[in-house]
Homo-oligomer: 145 residues x 2
């Protein structure tokens, strides 16, 4: 059997991810001038409440420099704030400001709508299987991020 680029998973995944990301990027970029990493961090904070940068890194599979810069950017936009922990001043607890929460709430709705749109042509079963597969593949091998 001849090798088909169209069956090569890293390629397909990349295409699909690109397509999906670009679509949603329009929304948070145009509306709030945010970058992808900023959006990701905002979503983590919106969904899970207060987190440290480190926790966002491991949960989101993001490198710490990316998170560091995203947090600074979110802080500059007054969407997030940080507070050093008293017990261990290396940690910073990050959380959304009132404004940040409003942005999260808005984007979260848009995300759901976008997600529905993206899966419009797929059946329930297909979607469940897709998600399960993506989770398996996306599991990070324990590395430094």
């Amino acid at each position: 059997m001849k090798f088909e680029l169209q069956d090569f998973l890293p390629y397909l995944l990349n295409q699909a991810a690109e397509q999906a990301s670009i679509g949603f990027q329009q929304i948070y970029k145009r509306k709030y001038g945010m970058l992808r990493t900023e959006w990701r961090v905002l979503f983590h904070l919106g969904r899970y409440g207060s987190l440290t940068a480190q926790e966002i890194c491991s949960r989101g599979g993001l490198h710490k420099t990316k998170v560091s810069r995203a947090v600074s950017a979110l802080e500059a936009k007054r969407f997030a704030s940080r507070k050093k922990r008293d017990e261990d001043r290396r940690f910073e607890d990050l959380s959304l400001t009132a404004q940040g929460k409003r942005v999260y709430s808005d984007l979260q709705e848009q995300a759901e709508a976008f997600n529905r749109e993206l899966t419009r042509n797929l059946t329930e079963t297909e979607i469940r299987n897709l998600i399960a597969c993506l989770r398996k593949i996306g599991k990070q091998s324990a590395d430094n991020r």
Copy 2:
């Protein structure tokens, strides 16, 4: 139902794609010093023979500046060569050199192995469904790339 980042497709796709790309990147980067876009272009040429930059753009969903630079890099490595078309000198037909073909053949085998590894935990049915879904999602809306 509460919104779950873990069910949000752009997020999942990105995680999975990242994971898959990073893994395969090790191979072509370490062995041939190639970047992701270079590898993609090389694979298109290896798989489909002679193509113009424009064709690679539309087939691969890549921006023309990326392709332009990747082609230059592949040319510098003597993996690819170009030839302006006589009928219309705006077009350049790109193809692999003998060395480029050897590299393709090597990487293509590695890609197949990597692909198998990536789907190790998935059944045949799951894989088929996954691929079908990714293709649907990845279809580019007709834009400039």
